[in-house]
């Protein structure tokens, strides 16, 4: 049931706080406040709300940023209405909606800094494997069959991956802050 519609990012944040919906469909292309920023604010203010990002192509860097900021997944605007409703239901049920394009982006993200700094959350072998299968186009059910594990296990792994992705964001911010601090040292 649709409880509210917002025309821009700022309105989205307000309405989310007011109505506390179960699921928010967030367009990335928004005015005033960007989709990524709105996602971040709503996720902070009301972590119980599940945010799903609507993307035109699925390959913008913003999609990855939105997931890092707290989105549960994304879906292409070009998908059929039935698929979108299905995805909304799955997000509501707590399943992360992970598509192959996003899996590719996430893999790249983790590879980019693999092993560079101690303490940075990296992916386990199993998580890497699962992510790769998602990137190749396998559904969660197919992955479960292929690896001889349960669907629930697959979903747990994916959830862990998303959590690690969000943790990475914090590390990135920390690193950035430290760098800035050092630059301002005595010269």
């Amino acid at each position: 049931m649709v409880v509210a519609e917002a025309a821009d990012g700022g309105e989205a944040i307000e309405l989310a706080n007011e109505h506390m919906p179960d699921v928010v469909l967030m367009d990335l292309q928004l005015s005033t406040v960007s989709g990524v920023e709105a996602t971040r604010r709503i996720a902070e203010d009301a972590p119980a709300i599940k945010i799903m990002v609507l993307s035109a192509t699925g390959e913008e860097a913003d999609v990855l940023e939105a997931v890092k900021a707290g989105a549960a997944g994304y879906i292409l605007k070009s998908e059929s209405g039935g698929d979108i409703v299905d995805a909304v239901r799955r997000v509501h049920a707590g399943e992360p909606v992970f598509t192959s394009g996003l899996a590719g982006l996430v893999l790249s993200e983790f590879r980019r800094v693999a092993g560079k700094e101690a303490g940075e959350p990296g992916l386990t072998q199993r998580e890497n494997e699962i992510l790769r299968l998602v990137a190749k186009g396998y559904t969660y059910r197919e992955i479960a069959e292929k690896l001889f594990i349960s669907m629930k296990t697959v979903q747990n792994h994916v959830q862990n991956i998303l959590t690690k992705l969000r943790l990475r964001k914090r590390y990135e911010l920390m690193r950035y802050a430290i760098q800035k601090g050092l630059d301002r040292g005595p010269d």
């Binding site: 192509t57 390959e59 860097a61 394009g101 590719g104 790249s108 590879r111 980019r112 990137a135 186009g137």
Partner: protein, 436 residues
């Protein structure tokens, strides 16, 4: 931020050499003067034997020091200072009693060269050498027989001497510091200039690329508009025309996206971007939506990549023809120096029975793909089962890229020679994997 510690930067060498040469001249000039002055006043010395020994030792040391470039070695500099300090009380012993404040100093100005040398070699730490020499000056008076009370009367000479030694050390110390600092700054400035130049080049390249795409996109959009108007005037719109229009728009969108999302890095000569080639291979496919995903941005030799792209295209055609799938995914990544591309569909799958496939006429594309990939020293694997969809995997060695030769094996000599030509013109680059 300039680097002022550590060994003298090599960029400071020319300046330093000039400084050392100047000090060398001073050393020999003062030594010559010391020797000549001693020779003319021989009869006034209390201990002529000691004077001779002092002159000979000093001369020998100076010669050795100059020939072996002792100024570079801290230990040699210390010995040099010790000798200079020793010369001061020796002067007092050599000269007639009480004559030290009236007559020409035995060691003349030679001891100052130790101060100059220390300053140039150790920077402002050379001031300590100047201080030590100043103390030595006091001992020269004492060795000459002056009572401590007389020292007060001679204060002007002592202060003069001390200031002289300290100033000498400070002068060369400052010069050294200036040379080192400016050399470091120059090096930094050159580095920064090179960086700016690189950045400017890359931005210019990106501008050129964006203009190119911009122009072609504008033209394509104009075409879309025109076509759209024509179709709007028809009583019924043939779906094929519409699909072509959509495809055209999608291609422009991809081109724009490529520009916006990829960093301004052009593949080196003879290479092409893997992702771009796969996008192209997937673009002509109708009937099944295709997603192309890649991990990392990598380059491959153009010839090789075109063949691979054709194989991928054939795999997708296979999907359209036989698989009855709802979607297909192309996934490319670099694993253990290999480029691994998988084409997966969620269709009906099949049993890989060569005979039966041959009979049903479904073997053609598979054989063609296999041939192409094996011709590139790669391998193809098919994972499939009834009802479980199909995955076709291509593996290609990437050693040529990482070792940077970019040489093609599947082509004839002419192209190989051309590649070697391009190799000598520009240093080949390693495959980049740090960006999406």
């Amino acid at each position: 931020m300039a680097r002022t510690r550590g060994p003298v930067a090599s960029e400071a060498e020319p300046g330093m050499r000039g400084l050392w040469l100047g000090i060398l001249v001073f050393r020999w000039a003062t030594f010559a003067w010391m020797a000549i002055a001693a020779a003319t006043r021989w009869h006034t010395f209390r201990r002529p034997g000691l004077a001779l020994a002092a002159v000979l030792i000093t001369g020998a040391w100076n010669a050795w020091f100059s020939l072996t470039w002792g100024w570079r070695r801290p230990r040699a500099r210390w010995v040099d200072l010790a000798i200079a300090i020793a010369l001061l009380p020796v002067s007092g012993l050599v000269m007639a009693e009480g004559a030290i404040s009236r007559e020409l100093f035995f060691a003349t100005a030679y001891p100052a060269s130790a101060a100059l040398t220390m300053g140039a070699g150790a920077g402002l730490a050379g001031l300590l050498a100047g201080a030590a020499l100043s103390v030595g000056l006091v001992f020269s008076r004492l060795a000459n027989g002056l009572a401590p009370g007389d020292l007060i009367a001679d204060w002007a000479n002592l202060v003069n001497g001390s200031v002289y030694y300290l100033a000498a050390a400070a002068a060369t110390g400052v010069v050294r510091r200036v040379l080192v600092t400016s050399a470091a700054e120059r090096a930094d400035a050159l580095e920064e200039a090179a960086r700016q130049r690189d950045r400017a080049v890359r931005l210019a390249e990106r501008d050129a690329l964006s203009r190119e795409i911009h122009d072609s996109v504008l033209q394509a959009l104009a075409l879309v508009g025109k076509k759209g108007k024509e179709l709007a005037n028809l009583p019924s719109v043939p779906p094929e025309e519409l699909r072509e229009l959509i495809d055209l728009t999608a291609r422009q969108e991809r081109a724009l996206r490529t520009l916006l999302s990829e960093p301004p890095g052009e593949p080196p000569e003879g290479m092409m971007a893997v992702k771009a080639a796969l996008d192209e291979a997937a673009s002509g496919i109708r009937g099944v939506p295709v997603t192309v995903t890649s991990v990392g941005l990598t380059w491959m030799p153009t010839g090789t990549m075109s063949e691979v792209a054709r194989a991928v295209h054939e795999a997708l055609e296979n999907v359209v023809e036989h698989a009855q799938a709802t979607r297909a995914t192309v996934f490319a990544e670099e694993v253990d120096r290999q480029l691994v591309i998988s084409v997966r569909d969620d269709g009906v799958g099949f049993t890989y029975d060569e005979e039966r496939l041959a009979r049903d006429g479904k073997l053609g594309l598979l054989k063609s793909m296999k041939g192409r990939v094996e011709g590139l020293r790669g391998a193809m694997a098919v994972h499939t089962a009834e009802g479980r969809g199909t995955e076709v995997e291509f593996r290609l060695p990437m050693e040529e890229v990482t070792s940077g030769h970019g040489r093609e094996r599947s082509r004839g000599g002419a192209e190989r020679r051309a590649d070697q030509g391009s190799r000598s013109r520009r240093p080949p680059r390693v495959a980049r994997r740090d960006t999406v």
